[in-house]
């Protein structure tokens, strides 16, 4: 399984010379499964570049949406494969008692916000609510679970062979909770991230910024690291960068993250700041001491 970051930013695209290295596109991760099947995790503005990279392939792909905030769906109407009649796209997302996934997405893909309507998309597109139980796409087992954020929001776990990817880009597991003390089964998103080969997790705020943003649905650096340590993720990528964070700021945050991670007993270099176009090859993870005991 491979994962490539096409958009690492949260909230709103933040292009410009000060964000050129980590990227200004909003959330999107392309995942290539071991049989070549393609998944897109979220459809922020980064999915536009993903679409352009595909050429005329593939004929079928799945888009897994964590939630419907604009920074996670705004790229849908600029996703080139959606405008090819031969493409079949399955869009997965959270259920809501208010309206179907299709109807909620259609609020964005409709006038006056969009020049095209969902029914006008040339591709064969279908919308599915994520089931409560695990399901399969190609060789992968997919699991979705509600996580602590504003509004119905999912995190995903993808297991393909012996490797696993956990994707929780918008997450505030420490809201009203002490992640150090809480039992594992009471930590939002824990089961998704447990022993993951790669955890892509919300890293929106520094610890100094967080107090002004409590309840906004995102994590402080120390929360992200504590969550990753409790879940025993092998490698962690901090993601969903605040649009105000420049490359220089993120360099410093990344250095701080690595120091703190080592202080927590983690492996040097196992935590990094997500940068657009970075690709990860997910190997089977080595058994942890806990798993071999």
């Amino acid at each position: 399984m491979k994962a490539k970051l096409w958009g690492t930013r949260g909230s709103i695209p933040a292009p410009g010379p000060e964000t050129i290295r980590y990227g200004g596109n909003t959330s999107c991760v392309g995942v290539t499964l071991s049989d070549g099947s393609l998944l897109a995790l979220d459809a922020g503005s980064g999915i536009r570049s993903l679409g352009l990279s595909l050429g005329d392939e593939p004929a079928r792909l799945h888009i897994l949406l964590t939630h419907l905030h604009l920074d996670h769906i705004q790229g849908l109407v600029f996703f080139a494969p959606a405008f090819r009649p031969q493409t079949e796209i399955v869009i997965w997302g959270p259920a809501s008692p208010e309206a179907s996934l299709r109807d909620r997405i259609a609020r964005y893909i409709s006038a006056p916000l969009s020049p095209v309507e969902v029914r006008e998309l040339p591709c064969d597109v279908s919308f599915r609510h994520c089931p409560e139980t695990e399901w399969e796409i190609g060789p992968a087992r997919i699991r979705a679970a509600s996580v602590s954020h504003r509004g119905p929001t999912l995190g995903y776990r993808i297991d393909d062979g012996d490797s696993s990817l956990a994707y929780i880009p918008d997450h505030e597991p420490a809201l009203g909770a002490d992640l150090d003390q809480l039992e594992e089964d009471w930590i939002s998103g824990f089961d998704l991230a447990r022993d993951a080969s790669l955890l892509i997790h919300d890293g929106q705020y520094s610890d100094a910024e967080y107090p002004a943003h409590v309840g906004w649905g995102h994590s402080a650096l120390s929360h992200s690291l504590t969550f990753a340590r409790r879940a025993a993720a092998e490698r962690t990528v901090l993601f969903h960068h605040d649009p105000m964070h420049s490359d220089q700021f993120l360099d410093e945050l990344g250095a701080q993250a690595n120091r703190d991670w080592v202080d927590l007993g983690g492996r040097d270099g196992a935590v990094e700041i997500g940068a657009e176009r970075t690709e990860y090859e997910l190997a089977a993870r080595a058994l942890s001491p806990a798993a071999t005991a």
Binding site: A95, S96, P97, E132, A145, S146, V147, S148, P152, L175, G176, A177, E183, E184, D185, W186, I187, S188, F190, D191
Partner: protein, 137 residues
């Protein structure tokens, strides 16, 4: 260990910040948490007690009606809320671990989600003040 549903996690986080005694049961009626204020009322912190099965918690601290008779488990607001998916209210007396009695009003409401009931929350309001004694039952 099975991951708790997000709605229970958020409920516990909220309850932890409240000064109102609050109790949380899962969809099977198992008492999975109560907050510090409830612990003061009962005389035992949740961390000391841990999770308690449905029938067991229903009789651990009473509760008793005006005549001193123990309330039927099925009639407790928390049980009605989780079983029927509707709010429920009652007044009764509970006995804490030191034997003191406390009159309370209890309001319970179900935690209903897109995936059905996940449990229920009960909030207690002490009404008549504490009273020492062995208590009925």
């Amino acid at each position: 260990m099975t991951q708790k549903p997000l709605e229970l996690i958020l409920a516990r986080n909220l309850m932890s910040a409240l000064s109102t005694p609050a109790f949380l049961v899962d969809e099977g009626g198992v008492l999975v948490f109560y907050n510090e204020s409830a612990g003061l009322l009962l005389g035992k912190r949740f961390e000391e007690l841990g999770t308690v099965g449905p029938q067991e918690w229903g009789s651990m601290f009473g509760p008793f009606d005006d005549s001193g008779a123990q309330l039927v488990y099925d009639e407790l607001p928390l049980v009605k809320a989780v079983r029927n998916g509707r709010p429920a209210h009652a007044e009764f007396t509970i006995r804490s671990t030191d034997g003191s009695l406390h009159e309370v009003e209890a309001a319970a409401f179900p935690i209903l989600t897109a995936h059905g009931s996940q449990g229920a929350i009960a909030l207690f309001w002490p009404t008549g003040g504490g009273q020492n004694g062995a208590g009925p039952g």
